[in-house]
């Protein structure tokens, strides 16, 4: 049997108040743009989360256990669902109750903590694991790091933390001639298995589905199923990893994305050798065919498939060094509000907004960037961080006195 593994990423950052200026430093300690966050979460809930969850539930019921999927939902998204539209949370709970859905572990704040602080990384992964248990009654055994950032050390660390499966990008620079359609063993690991994203088949849906300049447009479900079926004979697992917002948000409902997804399971299952499995199930049933050696971090972003969307220009590097440099002092305050405010600043999106890679061209980065320029993103971020630093220092001074 060849397992088709769906993993959907659900994430919403806590967006900062873009009007937070120099004069606010030391004066005002509310950093988030609640109106924008509410508006965006409600909009995406209407366009994506609610209809997509309904569809997944319908498919699970129709296929009576044969259609199985997985989600990774960040803590920042969960908190905003809870605050702005609890019905989204409720519909995820319903999905959890079917027994056909796996919830994947990650850093609660969708952070780059792994690259800067192993301690903070562990704390955030534990926070997220607890949230999964509280909300969905599942203790995650599969792990995905923020933006599928991955290297050998991460795999070893995650194995030690008790996870059995890890997800990452099937990046060309790592795989070379090899296919992502097998289970691999991360270098230096014994129990942990790696599932690699089949980026061609994933991105056909996530990115190219509505692209009218794509020769395959419009993509029929029969054609797509035939590509998946072509894996038969040269693979054991097909990993379709994508942002959940693909359904209804990145690809609007008018593109026919929901109809496509509604028809897909039966077309995949029409081939007797194919089944759906959650990542944890697929990895448990398959043996690794080879070692996966990734000495330098990879990710699923951009053409480079590395971390250059979040780090590498002076603004990103300065901001990251500064915010992670605050770790010890902010934790020492034992002030939950300060610590959450700090962790909200660790969310990788803030660094993504400062990316200058294709600033002049305008592209996917611009689409996801609420700021007019990366420099403006950096300035607002630093204003907020400078204020937070003052609060932490004030606490520290008060404690010492």
């Amino acid at each position: 049997m060849i397992a088709v593994c769906f993993y959907f990423q659900v994430h919403q950052p806590m967006r900062l108040d873009q009007n937070y200026g120099f004069f606010d430093i030391g004066e005002r300690h509310t950093y988030l743009d609640h109106d924008a966050n509410r508006e965006i979460v409600l909009k995406v809930a209407q366009k994506c989360y609610l209809p997509a969850n309904r569809l997944m539930l319908e498919l699970i019921e129709r296929h009576a256990g044969a259609f199985r999927i997985s989600y990774s939902i960040t803590g920042t998204a969960l908190e905003q669902f809870e605050e702005y539209c609890p019905e989204v949370l409720e519909s995820f709970r319903e999905l959890a109750d079917t027994g056909c859905v796996e919830f994947i572990g990650e850093t609660y704040y969708h952070s780059l903590a792994y690259l800067f602080s192993r301690d903070e990384f562990r704390r955030q992964v534990d926070l997220h694991s607890r949230a999964m248990q509280d909300l969905f009654g599942q203790k995650p055994t599969t792990f995905r790091n923020t933006e599928l950032i991955y290297d050998n050390d991460l795999a070893r660390l995650v194995e030690k933390m008790g996870y059995r499966t890890i997800l990452t990008e099937g990046a060309d620079q790592v795989l070379g001639w090899r296919t992502p359609n097998f289970v691999y063993q991360p270098a230096g690991c014994i129990k942990l298995k790696a599932l690699l994203k089949n980026y061609r088949l994933s991105d056909d849906v996530a990115f190219r589905f509505s692209d009218t300049s794509w020769p395959e447009h419009p993509l029929s479900v029969e054609r797509y199923a035939s590509w998946v079926h072509a894996v038969a004979g040269e693979g054991e697992v097909v990993n379709l990893f994508m942002d959940y917002e693909t359904f209804g948000e990145h690809q609007w409902a008018e593109t026919g994305i929901f109809e496509f997804m509604r028809a897909l399971p039966e077309h995949i299952l029409a081939h007797p050798d194919f089944c759906f499995r959650t990542p944890g199930e697929a990895a448990a049933n398959l043996s690794p065919v080879a070692e996966l050696d990734v000495p330098h971090p990879i990710s699923w972003a951009d053409l480079e498939r590395d971390v250059s969307a979040w780090l590498g220009n002076p603004m990103q590097d300065a901001a990251a060094a500064r915010v992670y440099g605050l770790e010890k002092d902010v934790l020492a305050t034992c002030d939950d509000e300060l610590i959450s405010a700090w962790r909200e600043l660790l969310t990788s999106d803030h660094f993504y907004y400062m990316c200058t890679k294709w600033f002049s061209d305008g592209d996917v980065h611009k689409y996801f960037n609420p700021y007019s320029t990366p420099h403006q993103a950096f300035i607002v971020y630093m204003n907020v961080l400078n204020d937070l630093t003052l609060l932490v220092e004030r606490q520290k001074g008060a404690d010492a006195a």
Binding site: T373, Q376, N386
Partner: protein
Amino acid sequence: MRALMFGWEFPPHISGGLGTACQGITRGLAAQGVDVTFVLPRLDAEIGGADHLRLMGANRVRARVGVREIVELRERIRVLEVLSPLRPYLTDREYRSLLERDQHLTLEALVAEVNNDFSGGYGTNLMEEVLRYSIVAAYIADVEPHDVIHAHDWMTYPAGIEAKRVSGRPLVVHAHALEFDRSGEHVNQTVYDVERAGFEAADRIIAVSSFTKDTIVARYGIPPEKVRVVHNAVSKERRFGELRLTRALKEKIVLFLGRVTFQKGPDYFVEAAAKVLANRRDVRFVMAGSGDMFPRMVERMAELRLEDRFHFTGFLRGADVERLYAMSDLYVMPSVSEPFGITPLEAMVYNVPIIVSKQSGVAEVLDSAVKIDFWDVDRLADRIEEIISDPALAHELAERGAETLKNIKWEIAGERVLAVYRELVEEVHR
């Protein structure tokens, strides 16, 4: 004495340094009993908000202009035949894209545009607006009685020339900034040509500093006796100050406020900040303003890892500008080439000690201020440290500044401008 004045800015209608200076000069003239009619390219209300003069908008004047007038105008002002698109503060990239878009204006386009509204800014069609404005100026000069014509900066020089042709009254052109200040050695030839045509056609040139006068003489081939220096002044009204501002930040604040462009030397400020911050952490640097060097300055600051002590405010207006002056402990103007530079005087109004570059006109009126060469980052850093670490010195500098301010008044500038008018009017009668 009745002056017909042409200017591109007047508060609150685009208020850069030029607008502020025009307001001050006209106040000074009004105090001397001069009647001023000030023509802006665009005025949204029927009459402007100034009580000491009459504001007119060229957009509200319906001059009857035909093809013939425009053909004649283009022949008279030869330099304007090269109608390359331009804006005063254009970046290289913007400039190239504009060049590709509209290489030359056609006669038809100009005629069609004459009765359209003026945008009154520094838009992509600036040169076209400068031309249309001068046509309207000729009409106004015919119907508005006046004794002298006074044009501020190159955008209005063609208007001044036209007005003089129609009325025969003497023309004063006022140089607030020159193309050499804005662009260094890479001057825009068309702007330079318009400036020179203005200087040649004028009966007198007023320069805002000896620094500017020297450039006019050396770079535009104008005889020195034709140029008079009238220094700018500053309004002493303050909104903040007496009522003490509560300060949330305990560190000293060192301020740069101005356009973030080559001319203003923002890069020297950033580099000096890095040197000071390498020695001490009890100071914050603030850069207020925007401009084409802004992204580079932000990245450079981050590269130097100053982000916990260096802040950008972006472009600020009115009350925020004054609030920032009131918060500051030291003001730095490291301009590479500054015809005058009114901001140090504004800072002084708030009792803030200042450091100015020697390459600025304002340095001429500040005998006791701290002056540095803009390129001397080491010295700038030393002086910053010295002043912020020595309250007695800072106090003394602020006191001396207050003393100096007593003699810097728009009334005095007004008197000097009036003296120029009188000279010319007497020459005419002689």
